[in-house]
Symmetry: C2
Subunit: 332 residues, 2 copies
């Protein structure tokens, strides 16, 4: 049974003073951030837990960037303009807070995100970080919703799938430190080692597709969400919300360079990782036939939205049911 | 190295379906909650961590109510009207999710709070819960700010202090289960056992002072915050933000019935717990002389706001510096 510690200015107050002296953070410091917005906004919250979402011992800067990226991806999936962030951070003794905040605020800047509030706590063992993001509806934009898919629309992906899952498998094979120097990849070929480093990087630092989301919000997009729990599971969610079915062309799925070779080295089926791996953080969306995103977004048409409720996948000329494979956060 | 699990509908999706079938939660289900507010609003975020903020093994319903209460207390300290909640919940296997959500939503109802978003995750060991609350500025209200105290104003407390810290010491002496049946209190007297149960309850289920906060927002209140890290530390924060000093009358501090006896049984100094204990979740605020809150709020005048920057406490006729005792979340 221990009583609280004493010090002139608490560590929390000192960290806050340090933050406010170095960054323009006008909303920090009171019991809550006072805001006013004259347009609709979207709010999302997402967690990053050591040993669950990222490997133990990961650099605090990378944790911060990953935390921001996966939250931004949710706003991208709404077509929103990111504005304000609220952080809850619980870390064990000795955590490099300033390193974390420097990286977080540096990553916030290009997206126009302001850290407007937060809560700091001591965690008995692991690092837990939760970010809540508030983003506004752009002028001339509409919200992208997951219930907007309609039969006859084409199904699109904003980038490659499966690579992040390969990166997660690599991360689980060794400590983060070892992996950063690309040991522990389990292969001799320099090309596959490069692919492995790329997969690890893709897993650790996802790139939220905010520009694509805003483009979709200005166009006649149908339904949209970001692929976080696996393409198959998230496609089922899109179809369930929209009351429709879909057919995916397995051969059309966009894969990273040398992905098949990397999967062979990892003893995994590429299509399985692509369909069920998760944490891809690319947008899955539908568009009317004949409309395609600009080439710069590197999107791929992967199938169609159908009447009915069946979700199917075509592979080697055969069409079969696609079960909702993927990550289950409760594992029930 | 394990791959994601498979099931027809994920545990997360099933929980979400269960929630939406039983409660009116129109904003749940997309990547982010889509909102629009025509008035200013305040956002706060706060964490509850097993073994840090509440004893291991605490009933999920109590965890939910405590999580909501400490967040509501931040909105109370702003004079805000609670509106929307966003939950991040990470729990070990076997956690009773539905019990948690039933209690959370039951506790939200009387405050008009709608659960509008969230994130569920598996935690390797401990329960981590983070709630972000959004509250609006009431019509005819002003924000209560911590930088609004001015010399000459009177200093007030919204309720007793120290009791929650006594409850925390009791909680740390045994498991929550034992304590609920009032064993492990370490005393024979029924009156002290009652005081102990009351202290434990006060610690586990704080009562946010929302009505008092709104009353203050409609009056000429000066500065305000909620006492979460100890009266002394939070008074220093109020004074630092407002650029003033304060003198507390130690004899005026409101204490719970039989608090001195309970402290004797716990071998603690009552004034120390009252000044430095923390987690009281009562409002600390200033008012111009001659203005007092209605009796129903049970507030107590405990001192004055002074020119200068000194924070002092008068006890037994002597006035001494009051150091910023209290809880430090980083313990640095």
């Amino acid at each position: 049974v221990s009583l609280p510690r004493r010090s002139r200015l608490s560590g929390e107050d000192r960290l806050l003073a340090w933050l406010r002296s170095r960054y323009a953070l006008p909303h920090l410091g009171d019991d809550a951030a006072m805001l006013a917005l004259d347009r609709p906004f979207a709010v999302t919250t997402d967690s990053q837990i050591e040993g669950v979402h990222f490997p133990p011992g990961l650099d605090p800067g990378r944790i911060a960037r990953r935390l921001l990226a996966i939250n931004l991806s949710d706003l991208a999936a709404m077509g929103a303009e990111p504005r304000f962030a609220f952080l809850a951070l619980a870390v064990p003794e000795g955590f490099a807070h300033r390193r974390f905040f420097r990286a977080l605020l540096a990553a916030c800047r290009p997206h126009g995100v302001e850290l407007a509030g937060g809560d700091l706590a001591r965690s008995p063992r692991l690092t837990y970080a939760v970010l809540t993001l508030l983003g506004t509806l752009p002028s001339r934009g509409r919200w992208l919703r997951r219930d907007g898919a309609r039969p006859g629309q084409r199904l699109w992906l904003g980038g490659t799938v499966g690579e992040s899952a390969a990166g997660q498998l690599l991360a689980a094979m060794g400590t983060a430190g070892k992996l950063e120097s690309s040991e522990g990849v389990g292969t001799e070929s320099p090309a596959i080692r490069r692919a492995a480093r790329h997969a690890l990087d893709r897993h650790l630092e996802p790139r939220p597709q905010l520009d694509l989301g805003r483009w979709l919000g200005r166009r006649k997009a149908g339904g949209a969400l970001d692929v976080s729990d696996g393409l198959a599971r998230d496609l089922h969610r899109l179809c369930r919300a929209s009351g429709c079915g879909a057919t995916v062309d397995g051969a059309a799925l966009p894969l990273a360079p040398r992905f098949a070779e990397l999967c062979r080295a990892l003893d995994r089926d590429p299509l399985e990782l692509a369909l069920a791996g998760g944490e891809d953080y690319v947008l899955l969306f539908t568009l009317p036939p004949g409309l395609a995103p600009p080439q710069e977004f590197c999107c791929t048409e992967i199938g169609s939205i159908d009447a009915g409720t069946k979700v199917r996948c075509t592979r080697a000329g055969r069409t079969r049911a696609l079960p909702p494979l993927g990550w289950d956060h409760l594992g029930m």
